[in-house]
Amino acid sequence: MTGTLRPILLVEDNPNDLELTLAALARCQLANPIHIVRDGAEALDYLYARGDHLHRQAGDPAVVLLDLKLPKIDGLEVLERVKNDAQLKPIPVVMLTSSREEADLVRSYQLGVNAFVVKPVDFNTFLKAIQDLGMFWAVINEPPPRIG
């Protein structure tokens, strides 16, 4: 494959989760560069190429791996801003979360999330999920729950 691959934007505040996710991504042997931001505000700055990210390389990320609970602006709000912006809307967003809360799931799908991954306790299962995501982020996603 030639030319520059679009980066994966990883939004994660917890250092342990960050390290595990990076380890998993490394094993997927993806060629994409991985860009890390640590909170929701920074994620939006990156996406809008503003603030600290004013001079970043142009172009949208291939996928956003977004943690749900984040400092400053939380994952759901980031998702909402992205999906309500005509420019950013096409960027696939995968919600990565500890939460098994149905309400979070419902809300994410309502906001137009592309996949929702509840981080499994078993690292091997997590690894598998990240690998599948790497190829295409839609395999392990949980189906939209019933609304109502």
């Binding site: 342990n16 609970k69 939460s99 981080k119």
Partner: protein
């Protein structure tokens, strides 16, 4: 005279202007004077015979003195004795538009002496009246006294009801005339204009039914040219029909003494004689006095009884409200003391209908009639407080056959929105009549009239009617209704407060489980993740180190699983059910598919029967079934040949599913622990699991309004059954009263 002719005569009698007979009875004389007393306007033919003077100026002169003062202000009747030419006469005078009506009756020396004897007699009667005695007892005593006073062989005390039907409530007699005690008479027996005369003239005597009426002349009043109004005159001549009636009955003499309470004709003391009987004016005065004493006694007792009734109703009400306040539901409170409930309004039956639930006491129509009655009432008078009738069958067709329990209904609405009522019932009056005498014997020899006919006639009139509801009954029902509504409002407020608290608690719980979900899972994940990385990273680890790491991973995994199970369990209480028909055969097939991997190389014989469809939340029922199947597989693990049977059965109100295995079973002693959270009956080393599966299953079944149960014996397999209602219980809308 045959019956038809008598009917006609009686009918004519009820229209007859009985106050205008134009004549008087012969035992006294009547004079009509101009109101200034100077002119004699009319006189009865027997004036000379009674007074010894012609009806002219000489007689007028004799009366100037006795009448002078009264004529100046003739507001009340005048009663006094006069003496004309040595004749002693009882004078009674009334003033009216046609002049002053003056009655004169001879008084003998003997009569005058009896007066002295009368006072102690009446005094004795008053002393003899028991203050505690009821109305019947005091009437009985008065009847006895009147019989002794007058010598009539039979004295009746006759009471009018609200519709002017009459009942003989007391009687005293020497046996020469038949007993009329307890007989009923229709209102038409004593028509309205006759009752009005009874009210105005308290004492009325007919000494001899065979008398010759004495005309009053001229026939028309010189004042207004009309017939003379004799309403106020006790000598007034009697209707010929009535006289014939008396002669036919073999009672040529009669007397009545009116019982007038607060201006209303309450009843009569009615005397009959087999012989003509004249009573002297002093005796008649004593009879009147006796009647007035009786009226006072009855009035006092009625007021006392009314006060007691109200007091009793208040007591009953307080008792019922106190019980309702303590009881879990309104109905339960009423049912705890059916006597108070019934006695509140003196009813024979009572019911409370709330949201179609019926609870009754005493004699009432059946539940279906009650349900249709309250919905009818609700349509008739939406939310109106208290409603009553004493003729239910004629107003509400479905109650037509309920005369023996519900001719009268008193209904108190206890909800503005729903057909919820407290009801009281009274049976048909005919069913409640105390029947002492025998109407056949009471009829006279010719079989004509009277008690029997009257009773039959009265029965016709009261057929389909209950005893009337009194104002005090309605007031008592209204008062209880207010109490209930107050009670209901208080319950509603309490419930609202409780529900607010519950909501707050629920919100806290949700926040709690949300944070567990996020924050408790993460560390376990990190432990497992880094341990797995460590294990892969370092190829030189000793076998023991690898085993240590594996144990760390296993422990963290099972802790993570525990958290997930717990969250699952708590979420189940909060999520709403999506109830719809579920194909259980399909569900079972899916469950079997998913356990195929666990089954592995084992030999399992499946015996799956035809499962009837369920009403429920498909995803949750699937979880329940999967838990039971998982268990069956798990506990048959050591069997050479595992046998798992799954079956279903449709019953009247529920469908029941059974999962049976031939596994290790369990000790029934611990059966109640099976479904508890984290309860285990086996060691973890033998059978893995967090011990939450069955708790979860029970929670799911509970939320469907169903049940789950287990049977088993150690090493003899286990059988699990769960039942689901075929119709889902109606959603838990707040019920307006019952809770």
């Amino acid at each position: 005279m045959n019956d038809a002719a008598l009917d006609a005569a009686l009918e004519a009698c009820s229209r007859e202007p009985i106050h205008l007979p134009g004549s008087i009875q012969p035992h006294g004389a009547l004079l009509v004077l101009s109101i200034d007393g100077r002119t004699l306007l009319q006189a009865s033919d027997n004036v000379p015979a009674i007074t010894g003077r012609d009806a002219g100026p000489a007689l007028l002169d004799a009366l100037v003195d006795p009448l002078q003062d009264w004529l100046a202000a003739p507001d009340a009747p005048l009663h006094r004795q006069v003496s004309i030419d040595g004749r002693r006469l009882q004078l009674t005078a009334h003033a009216g538009p046609q002049g002053a009506l003056v009655e004169l009756e001879p008084v003998t020396e003997a009569d005058a002496r009896t007066l002295d004897a009368l006072y102690p007699r009446v005094q004795r009667f008053m002393d003899a009246v028991e203050p505690e005695g009821d109305i019947v007892a005091v009437s009985q005593a008065a009847a006895r006294e009147l019989r002794v006073l007058t010598g009539f062989p039979r004295v009746l005390v006759y009471r009018f009801d609200e519709d002017w039907h009459g009942t003989v409530i007391a009687e005293d007699g020497d046996g020469s005339l038949p007993s009329y005690l307890d007989l009923r008479f229709p209102a038409s027996d004593i028509p309205a204009q006759a009752r009005e005369l009874y009210r105005r003239n308290r004492v009325r005597i007919i000494p001899d039914a065979n008398y010759e009426p004495v005309p009053v002349r001229p026939a028309l009043s010189p004042v207004d040219g009309r017939p003379l109004d004799l309403s106020a005159v006790s000598l007034r001549s009697v209707s010929p029909v009535h006289l014939e009636y008396m002669r036919n009955m073999g009672t040529p003499s009669s007397m009545s003494v009116s019982i007038v309470i607060d201006g209303r004709l309450w009843g009569l003391m009615s005397c009959h004689g087999t012989q003509p009987r004249r009573l002297s004016p002093p005796v008649l005065s004593a009879c009147d006095f006796l009647g007035q004493i009786l009226a006072l006694q009855i009035g006092a007792r009625e007021r006392g009884a009314d006060a007691r009734r109200r007091l009793k109703a208040k007591d009953a009400e307080a008792e019922l409200l106190a019980r309702m306040a303590r009881a879990s539901t309104l109905q339960a409170g009423l049912a705890e003391n059916p006597e108070a409930w019934l006695s509140l309004v003196d009813a024979g039956g009572a019911a409370v209908v709330i949201d179609d639930n019926v609870l009754t006491a005493g004699r009432t129509p059946d539940s279906d009639v009650l349900r249709s009655l309250v919905s009818w009432l609700h349509e008739q008078a939406r939310g109106e407080g208290v409603w009553s009738t004493d003729t239910l069958p004629s107003r509400f067709a479905p109650a037509a056959g309920c005369g023996d329990s519900a001719c009268g209904v008193l209904a108190a609405s206890i909800s503005a929105l729903h057909p919820n009522y407290v009801l009281w019932f009274r049976p048909e009056l005919v069913h409640t009549v105390r029947w002492g005498g025998e109407p056949d014997k009471a009829a006279d020899a010719a079989g004509r009239l009277r008690p029997r006919r009257s009773f039959a006639q009265w029965t016709q009139l009261v057929r389909g009617r209950s005893a009337r509801w009194h104002a005090s009954d309605l007031a008592a029902a209204e008062s209880l209704r207010n109490g209930i509504i107050h009670f209901v409002l208080r319950r509603a407020e309490e419930r609202a407060a409780l529900s607010e608290q519950l909501h707050a608690t629920n919100r806290e719980l949700e926040a709690f489980s949300y944070s567990i979900s996020h924050d408790l899972r993460a560390p376990f994940r990190h432990i497992v993740g880094f341990a797995q990385l460590l294990r892969e990273q370092d190829e030189n680890l000793s076998a023991q180190s690898v085993r240590y790491i594996d144990t760390i991973i296993e422990a963290a995994l099972s802790a993570g699983q525990l958290v997930d199970d717990l969250l699952n369990f708590s979420q189940l209480g909060r999520s709403t059910l999506d109830i719809r028909p579920v194909d259980m055969n399909k569900l079972m097939a899916e469950v079997r598919q998913s356990v195929r991997i666990d089954e592995g190389q084992r030999r399992v014989e499946w015996r799956v029967g035809e499962l009837p469809p369920a009403m429920g939340d498909g995803a949750l029922l699937r979880q329940t079934l999967a838990n039971l199947i998982d268990n069956a597989l798990k506990y048959t693990r050591h069997r050479e040949q595992a046998v798992i049977e799954v079956d279903g059965e449709s019953r009247a109100h529920e469908t029941v599913y059974t999962v049976r295995d031939n596994g290790v079973g369990f000790d029934m002693t611990y059966a109640d622990k099976l479904f508890g959270v984290f309860q285990r009956l086996h060691r973890v080393e033998d059978f893995e699991g967090s011990g939450i599966g069955l708790a979860l299953s029970r929670r799911i079944v509970d939320r469907h309004g169903g049940w789950i149960a287990a049977e088993g014996a150690v090493d003899r397999g286990a059988t699990f059954r769960f039942g689901l209602p075929r119709r889902q219980p109606e959603s838990a809308n707040p019920q307006d009263l019952s809770t």
